[in-house]
Symmetry: C2
Subunit: 106 residues, 2 copies
DNA sequence: CAAATATTCAGCATGTACGCTGAATATTGA
DNA sequence: TCAATATTCAGCGTACATGCTGAATATTTG
């Protein structure tokens, strides 16, 4: 996947950037503690932001693969993609392998 | 900790933002695979960026608590703070508790 | 069809991020 | 002390992020 400037938009960058904003972390937790799915309006109601602002946060989370969505009548239901969080665990796992014992600091 | 605009700069935000940039993730891995410590110049040599650009990345990583540093003669040694990565694991752990079985999606 | 509801799109202002260059600082060695 | 080495500070330009408001779209209900 390559963005408009030709730069490779790596999945790690999308996920970490998405999680960098407190409102977006709160969206994920809110959906999770609601059972995994919520309508856009229900999510927006949690925040004091204009609802259009929350819409954009939801789009960023979906672009990062952390949410999926489907229309249901006049509502849009967002669903938490918990598996996507494994990407972070995978990255963190790099730091659990001892890389070179001869250079280990005591 | 409160930043210049009076907003609480939460630790999660600092850490996730720091990890959002590919160069900064690479800095952490580079130091790790070098045994946990590296001089600023050694780190900068890995990148094609101007070294001043890497200096700023190092400062951001240090501000996020992911690196610590100490002068050693005319060099500055950066040390990886692996423990700080546990903050992310802690946040991810929120998603491993079943929140409300009555709302669970099958 | 018209009105109400739910959500998104488009555009604006402000602030921050990130690359750069040039100058400054600190330490070491001749 | 002077020159070399290692790093940081200051400032610039461009691009993007994030809040906002107003308009547009899609769907259901009367």
């Amino acid at each position: 996947m390559v963005d408009e400037s030709g730069r490779h938009e790596d999945a790690y960058e999308a996920v970490f950037s998405a999680l960098a904003h407190p409102a977006r972390r709160r969206v994920l937790l809110t959906i999770y503690f609601n059972g995994g799915s919520m309508a856009a309006g229900e999510i927006a109601a949690v925040f004091s932001h204009a609802w259009q602002t929350t819409t954009r946060h939801l789009q960023i989370l979906e672009a990062a693969g952390l949410l999926s969505s489907a229309r249901d009548g006049r509502m849009r239901i967002y669903h938490l993609e918990r598996k996507r969080l494994d990407l972070i665990r995978d990255w963190l796992a790099h730091f659990t392998i001892t890389p070179d014992p001869t250079k280990e600091t005591p």
